[in-house]
C-alpha cells in the first residue's frame, strides 16, 4: 500500500525537479496528490512509475514511452497547457491565467505500436560519417554527441533507455 508520507515525499521531489528544469506541477494539490499516488501504485505493481492515466503492459520495454515523464509530455504542454494526466502544466496555467484544455491521448494505439515495433526491427540505421553518434532524449529533445547516451538526462532526469539514436 502507498502511504501518505510516500506521496508527500514524491510530490516534493517531483516539484523540486520540475522547477529546476523549467517544468511545473499542477497547482491543484489534491488532484496532483492523486496522480502521484497512482505513480507510486504503478511502481509497486510494475517496478517503474508508468503513467497513471494509461494502461501499462507490465513489460518495461513496451511501456518505456509512458514512464513518467512520458514521451508525450512536452508536446502536450505546448499544445494544451498540460500533460495528458494533468500532472504537469505550463507556467501560465500554473499562474491561473490560462485554463488547460482537455488533452486527447497522442500515444499511438496498440495496433500502431505493434506495427512500429516491427518496423524498428527491420529498418537498419543509416550510417553517418560523424565522429560520434548523436543521441536524442525522447522526453525533452536534449541532444548530445558521444558514444553512449548519459545515464540520466541532464535536462529532464529520465534514464538512459529513454534516448534514441538521432544521427
Amino acid at each position: 500500500m502507498v502511504s501518505d508520507k510516500d506521496v508527500d515525499r514524491l510530490v516534493q521531489d517531483l516539484a523540486r525537479e520540475a522547477e529546476a528544469g523549467g517544468y511545473h506541477l499542477n497547482p491543484d494539490r489534491e488532484f496532483t496528490r492523486g496522480l502521484v499516488r497512482g505513480l507510486l501504485a504503478n511502481r509497486e505493481r510494475y517496478g517503474y512509475i508508468s503513467c497513471p492515466c494509461r494502461l501499462a503492459s507490465g513489460n518495461r520495454e513496451d511501456d518505456l514511452d509512458i514512464i513518467c515523464p512520458c514521451d508525450y509530455r512536452d508536446l502536450d504542454l505546448a499544445d494544451y497547457g498540460a500533460c495528458y494526466c494533468g500532472l504537469y502544466v505550463t507556467a501560465d496555467v500554473e499562474a491561473g491565467v490560462r485554463t488547460p484544455e482537455p488533452v486527447p491521448d497522442r500515444r499511438p494505439s496498440p495496433v500502431e505500436r505493434r506495427k512500429k515495433k516491427e518496423e524498428n526491427v527491420t529498418v537498419a540505421r543509416a550510417p553517418g560519417d560523424l565522429k560520434y553518434p548523436v543521441w536524442r532524449c525522447r522526453v525533452c529533445g536534449y541532444l548530445c554527441a558521444r558514444n553512449e547516451p548519459p545515464e540520466t538526462c541532464p535536462i529532464c532526469r529520465v534514464s538512459r533507455d529513454r534516448f534514441e539514436r538521432f544521427v
Partner: protein, 91 residues
Amino acid sequence: MQYVPGDDNHKVVLYALSTCGWCARTKQLLTDLGVGFSYVYVDLLRGDDQGIVVREVERWNPRLSFPTIVIDDSKAIVGFREEEIRKAVGA
C-alpha cells in the same frame, strides 16, 4: 463490474483505471448526477480477465484510452468530457 445505483434511464458503463485522475472525476460526476452505472478498473484485472475487457474497450475506442464511457451500448465518450457526458445521460 461494480454497480453504483441510481437513475436507470440509460445503460452507462464506465471503463476506468484505478490510478487515473480523469477517471476519478468521471466517476464522481456520474455519482453526483445520480446516474446508475457500472464501472470496472481495467488495471486491476489480471490475465485473461483483463484481455477480455481490453478487447471490449477497443471495440468502442481503438486507442484503448481511459476513461471510456459507453452509453446504451450504442455510443462511446472518450475522456472526461463533462458537457458531453451530461448531455448523453440526460442530466
